[in-house]
């Protein structure tokens, strides 16, 4: 017997026509899946009632485990237990080495595979594949809960994710067999969960304090479009830092004789429990028993506040910075949305309130709010809900540009342009006779291309040689609703076109740029050679054609057999060599035809002069 859900009035779908859609929050620490059922967006728990799936994949002993099952191996087999993989999405090996030693994994990267892979007991795996495993687990949960195959999903990504990171997220979804309706910015999803997209225009601050990361985003809602005005944060600041500070306090209080890994872990667990207890109470008891060492203590809310305050205060610096970046006065912020488990700490809400001078919104579960917003958007996008809900538009997070002479960036689509969007700009050739143009697609706000991220390169080749500045090359940038782009180029006078779907180059390093520049110079020589050959081939064809048409008109009357055969010999020789010979050789063969024909050409001139003068008086000829 089917289990039915309540529809909106008049929107009951025919049997087997329900479209199931879900929203997925693919997080650094935890991931969630949510869906709208009977008009209500809810996160979907697994069969043990747990909503949060730790974003951890275990890759040891010929098995792949995801979530809580994988987490068990974290302390015993850290090298095969992959966590915080989101930090690696869309990153190349250089980017990863810049992340420092926060991740213990060993990376493999060869020349063909620019995507770095992590070495594990079950073989190398990329960040995209790890994310796909997490997505598969969540999809399975959603399909079991909703009783059918998912038509599509909305996946959230941080507002600061660039095109490479978004593409990597989308690739992970494809790998997991999912149809992605849209990638949605996390702060935008949080705002949607609170229904802010249904309200009047205004500026919204989204304060997202998770376990290990802090993000602050300033959004502007303008006629149903969320613009990201500025984003900021600290990728190494979160609730875990409060746990560590509390742990240090415990160490000071307890005077343990000797400290080992297990005791440190016990202390952190106790610290976290105390932090959680103090969200609802004013004091809490702590006790630690380990290897004959015993400690019991009491932590009051006042002490906790003293310990936690410096850490929470650190979040306010990025807040100030984004307000300055967005050029927004604090008084103009109309709503503050709280996201992330650490915002449950009352002191966080209090300090955010006094900073932004308004009561933050925190009625919804801060761990689930992003997934819920994604689910609401997925429901609208799959067509289940049309009840006056606006289709949410997102904006481009970073400007897209093209490299122009001198390594400068010329912006074609500027940041915060609502997407989907297509914009075109015309460029021209730099050199006389230029027949190809290299198009370098970059993303970023800086003026020098070396400071921006390289997304793709391709060439528009084979348009006819023209004087510098005569060619009209229209370059069109198109960004679809997911923030993914296609670039096309057309030389307007000849109609030669080229296009590319941007598969990000995962960030180029200086040395790579250097070697690419060198390569392009080598290519330049090759290009010149091949162009000269093309030019000689064209010339040879022209000569053959001229000879043929001349012989056809007066070859028999003007030429003796020997002379005719000599010309034909050289002509045929040239024709045979056109596709086979080098440009220098072709030049000589052309010369040979010309030499052989010299006498014939002279005779033709004479004969045409004779023809022209036949039957005319001397005074009729205009000399």
């Amino acid at each position: 017997m089917a289990l039915l859900q309540i529809s909106e009035p008049g929107e009951s779908s025919a049997p087997h026509q329900h479209r199931l859609a879900a929203g997925i929050d693919l997080g650094t620490t935890n991931s969630l899946v949510a869906s709208v059922r009977s008009g209500k967006a809810e996160t979907l728990p697994d069969d043990s009632g747990r909503v949060l799936l730790p974003s951890i994949v275990y890759m040891g002993n010929e098995q792949r485990l995801v979530g809580q099952e994988a987490q068990k191996f974290q302390s015993d087999d850290p090298l095969n237990t992959l966590s915080s993989i989101k930090r690696l999405m869309g990153r190349d090996i250089e980017d990863i080495s810049q992340l420092g030693n926060i991740l213990p994994y060993e990376f493999i990267s060869d020349e063909i595979q620019t995507v770095p892979r992590i070495k594990t007991a079950t073989g190398p795996i990329s960040a995209v594949e790890v994310s796909a495993e997490i997505l598969k687990d969540l999809t399975e949960r959603a399909e079991q809960t909703l009783g059918g195959t998912l038509d599509g999903v909305v996946i959230t990504v941080p507002a600061y994710f660039d095109d490479a990171q978004r593409q990597a997220t989308r690739d992970a979804a494809t790998l997991a067999g999912l149809n992605v309706y849209r990638l949605l910015n996390e702060p935008t999803a949080a705002a949607v969960a609170y229904g802010l997209d249904q309200q009047h225009d205004g500026v919204i601050a989204v304060y997202d304090l998770g376990g290990g990361t802090f993000d602050i985003s300033i959004l502007r809602l303008n006629k149903g479009i969320f613009e990201v005005l500025a984003t900021g944060g600290d990728s190494a600041l979160g609730g875990d830092d409060i746990d560590h500070a509390l742990g240090e306090w415990i160490l000071e209080e307890a005077h343990f004789e000797k400290l080992d890994v297990v005791l440190s872990r016990r202390i952190l667990i106790a610290a976290r429990a105390a932090k959680e207890a103090l969200t609802t109470r004013n004091r809490t008891e702590l006790s630690i028993n380990y290897a004959g060492q015993h400690w019991q203590g009491c932590l009051t809310i006042e002490q906790f506040r003293l310990i936690a305050k410096p850490i929470i205060k650190k979040t306010l610096t990025p807040c100030r910075r984004v307000l300055r970046d967005a050029n927004i006065d604090i008084d103009h912020i109309s709503q503050v949305v709280m996201v992330g488990g650490s915002t449950r700490v009352p002191l966080v809400a209090e300090m955010v309130k006094s900073f932004f001078k308004r009561e933050p919104m925190n009625d919804l579960d801060p761990d689930q709010v992003v997934a819920i917003g994604a689910a609401i958007q997925a429901d609208v996008l799959c067509g289940n809900s049309s009840d006056g809900k606006m289709l949410l538009l997102d904006v481009l997070p970073l400007s897209l540009g093209i490299e122009t002479m001198g390594g400068l960036s010329e912006k074609i689509i500027s940041r915060n342009t609502p997407i989907p969007v297509a914009k075109a700009q015309e460029f021209t050739t730099f050199k006389n006779g230029q027949t190809s143009m290299s198009i370098h697609v970059i993303q970023g706000e800086r003026e020098l291309i070396s400071d921006c991220r390289s997304l793709a390169r391709f060439e528009l080749r084979g348009f006819p040689p023209m004087v510098a500045g005569a060619a009209r090359i229209r370059v069109t940038y198109q960004v679809d609703a997911d923030g993914l782009m296609t670039v096309s180029a057309e030389e307007l006078t000849s109609g030669v076109t080229a296009d590319i779907v941007v598969k990000p180059s995962y960030g180029l390093t200086d040395t790579e740029i250097g070697s690419m520049l060198k390569a392009s110079m080598e290519f330049a020589k090759e290009d010149i050679d091949s162009r000269m050959l093309k030019e000689q081939q064209v010339e040879a064809k022209r000569v053959i054609e001229a000879v043929d048409s001349a012989l056809a008109s007066d070859g028999d009357s003007l030429l003796g057999e020997a002379e005719l055969n000599n010309i034909l010999l050289h002509r045929n020789n040239l024709e045979q060599q056109i596709e086979l010979s080098t440009s220098d050789n072709l030049k000589q063969l052309i010369k040979a035809v010309e030499v052989a024909s010299e006498n014939y050409v002279a005779k033709r001139m004479n004969s045409s002069v004779v023809n022209a003068l036949a039957g005319k008086q001397v005074d009729e000829v205009n000399l």
């Binding site: 089917a2 529809s7 009035p9 008049g10 009951s12 025919a14 209500k40």
Partner: protein
């Protein structure tokens, strides 16, 4: 003539109505579609039609149009769970046969 919601189903409906923020009750009905001839309709109600019949069951207003009422008389609607999946279920004495998934039925 009567249509009933079980207590747990009624509770669910009330929760959904509350989170939706508007609506006066639950519309139950049938429409002629699907692989076995008819399919159930289960919707929120914002406006009543003059011809509608309204039943009050476990604190929830159940609204049925006259055509559907013939096929739904005596039906009990329950809310149940199957594994992770959960939803409303029609226990209809008029239904003679249903398709494999139970989304449509024959009288």
């Amino acid at each position: 003539m009567a249509i009933q919601l079980t207590e747990i189903a009624a509770q669910r409906v009330q929760n959904f109505l509350k989170s939706r923020g508007k609506g006066i009750g639950l519309r139950l009905g049938v429409k002629t579609t699907g692989c076995s001839g008819m399919a159930y309709v289960i919707e929120f109600v914002d406006e009543l039609d003059d011809s509608d019949t309204v039943f009050e069951t476990n604190g929830v207003k159940v609204v049925v149009d006259p055509k559907s009422l013939i096929f739904l008389d005596g039906t009990q609607v329950d809310f149940s769970k199957e594994g992770l999946n959960e939803g409303f279920q029609f226990i209809n004495p008029n239904a003679k046969d249903a398709c494999g998934c139970g989304e449509s039925f024959t009288v």
